[in-house]
Point group: C14
Chain length 93, copies 14
């Protein structure tokens, strides 16, 4: 098992786990926010403008943490500095 | 066990786990949202338009995190840059 | 243990786990949705049309995450690109 | 330990775990649905027709995820493409 | 440790675990259903006919997931295709 | 460590774990059912006939899952087909 | 480490774990039943006859699952067929 | 590491774990029962005779599961048939 | 690593874990009982005699399970039959 | 496996896990805050100014802990002092 | 790694874990008792004498389980019979 | 694998885990505090000054525990005394 | 790896884990006590003297279990009898 | 891998884990205390002086357990007696 293989395997596994575990939290959080928004709407239909606006701002911030994980995952697959180092090194040989 | 095998095994396992674990969170979250939507509808039938609209926007955002996981999983199976690297390298030899 | 065996073993285990773990979340979520739908129906029988419609849309979206897992699982068993690669490679030898 | 043994062992273990873990979620979910149906019936006996109809549709959808797991399990035991490949390969030798 | 031993060990362990883990979920679910049925009966004795009928249909569906696990377990012990393959192979030698 | 030993060890451990883990779920479920039966009796003493009858039917169905585990456990100890195979094989030598 | 030792070690560990884990569930369940019986008695002292009778029947059924585990444990220590097989085999040599 | 040592080590570890894990369940259950008894006494001081009698019967049955574990533990330390077998065997040599 | 060392190490570790894990359950249970006793006293100061008496009987029974663990732990440290066997055996040599 | 490979693998895996696990907590916390903000808005629409202001300050502080994790992750990928040390050392040779 | 080292390492690790895990339970239990005492005092200030007396008796009994763990820990560090045995044995040589 | 590599790997992994796990607790705690602050504001808008002041002091103290973890993490990456020791030692050679 | 190193490593790891795990329980317990004290103060401001006095006594007893862990930790770092034994032994050589 | 390396690695990992795990408990506890303080303030604004004073005393005591962990962590990094021993020993050689 040479070095580039090991880097590749580590990148693949980490990319998958980062996205899957990192999406759990935001998914739960968004589910909770949406659920509460719905109960709030049912309870106070007049405040629907404020509620939906606050909901979307909140969803955007929660989604941002999911985006962080997806970004790290994409960096590891498509712009991995360690992988590039080894590939250029191999080419250089 | 040569290198391509290892990459393949890691990709298979990671693809499966990413989808299965990554779908848990969104599934729970959607279940929660739908459940609350139903109680809200039962509680305030007049606000059904606002509720279902907010519900569908929320479901779309939650589904997006499940899509991230599915996308990573599909990339690992069908467009894996590490696998392609090794395959082209093997062909080149 | 040659390479094709390893790919096969990894595919079998991953296919099984992906389906079994990936079905837990949707099952719980659907159970929750159905349960709430029933309490809502008991609470507000007049809104049964809206409730059942929202329920079925929600169940469809939750079922979609279970379908993702089942699809990944079927791909790994019947249309596995890594397996096909090794099989054709073996034949080619 | 030759290759067919390994495939067989992996198939046996995965088939068992897929069914046992995959049935947990649906079992819980059905238990929850049935339990809520009963409380709803006790609360609103007049809506029993709608409630039992919704319950059976819901149970069918939840049972479907258990069926997915059972199907994967049966495929792994009785129609395993990897096992068939190795058996025919062994015969061919 | 020859091959048949390994198959036998894997079958024994998987058969046991499949039944024991697979019975947990249905047991909980049935307990929950029965418990709710009893509270419903205490709350609305007049609806006892509908309640017990719904309960028994529900218990039957939940029991079905336990039966799946028991069936897989029995198949692995008494009608295991992998075991039969190796036994006939050994006899054939 | 010869083959019969391994089969014996696997059977012993699996038999024990199957019973102990498989009895947890039913025990909890029965405890829950009995507990709810008692609260129901305290709440509605007049319905004691229906309640105790439903309770005993429910307990019987829950107990059945415990029986499945005990049966598998006893099969593994006293009527283990794999063990019999190896014993007769050893005698035959 | 010869074969009888291994059987003995496996029997000892399994016997202990079977009893200890298998007693957790029934203990919890009995605690729950007794606790509910007490609240029921405090709530409805007039129904004490029915309550205590139902409690004892319930406790007997829950205790039965603990007995299963204890029986398996005792079988493994004092009437272990695998151990007897090896002992008689050793004596026969 | 000869055989008697292994038996001794397994017996020591199992004896300890059996008692410690096996006492958790009963301890929780007794705590729950005593706690409910106290709330019941505070709620209905007149029924103190029935409550304390039911409490002690319940505690006795819960304690019985703790006793099972302690008995298995003591058997493993002081009346271990496997240990006795090896000791007499060693003496016989 | 000779035999007495192994026995000593196993005894040390088991003694520690038995006490630490075995004390968790009783500690929780006593905390629960004391907590409920206090709420009961605040709720019904007139029944303080019955409450404290029941509390102390209950605490004594819960403490008994902690004592079991402590006793096993002390036996393993100071009156370990396996250790004594090996020590006398070593002296005898 | 030479040294730089090991550093690279450790950096990849740690970077992924740091982001994915580190984003769970903040995601949950933000979900909780947004959810409570929505219920508060529904309950007291007049205080919407204070509520949204407090919400955004709170979200900013919670997001800061997610940022810490993302920063550590980025440092490990793009500005890793250990990696730089080894790279410059390799160049120097 | 000679024998005394192993005994020392096992004693150090066990002593630490015994105290740290063994203190969790009592800490939780005391926290619960103190918390309930405070709510009881706020609810019934007149019964403060009985409440604080019962609290201190309860805390003493809970603290006793923490003391057991601390005692076992101290025995393992400062009065370890196994360690003393090996030290005297080494000196005797 | 020489010594500096090992120190580097341990530092990288520990730095990542310290930040990611150490940020979970504070994130949850801040989420809880902010959530309660919002409900308090909705409940008692007049006390908004005291509430927000107490909130910010509380958030500062909770954030301090996150800072501890971040500081330890940064020390391990940029001011690691063990790493410096080995680097200077290597230079000295 | 000589003996003193092993003792040192075990002491370092155990000291750290003892403090970190051992502080969790008391921290939770103190948080609970303080939280209840605050609700009690808000509910019954007149009893503030009794409440704060009971709170401080309770906090002192809970803190004592944290102190036990810290003491064991400090003993393992600065007054470790096993370490001293090996150091003096090494010096004596 | 020589001895000083091992000590360094153990110190690094333990220091990180001690701080990260040890800060979880206090963070949760402080979050709980602050949250209750806020609800208390909203409920009883007049008692704000007593509440904030009690809150700060409580936070100080909870923070103390976090400080213990941080102190142990800093001792392990900057004043580690085991590390110093090995360093001086190496210098002495």
């Amino acid at each position: 098992m040479d070095d580039t293989t090991l880097i590749a395997v580590a990148s693949i596994i980490t990319a998958g786990l980062t996205t899957s575990f990192g999406c759990m939290g935001p998914a739960f959080a968004e589910g909770r926010s949406v659920a509460t928004a719905l109960t709030s709407l049912a309870q106070q239909p007049d405040a629907s403008a404020t509620i939906t606006r606050t909901l979307f701002v909140g969803l955007a911030m929660i989604e941002s943490t999911a985006i962080y994980c997806f970004v790290v995952s994409m960096i590891l697959i498509f712009a991995n500095p360690f992988w590039n180092h080894f590939i250029t090194q191999t080419v250089a040989k």
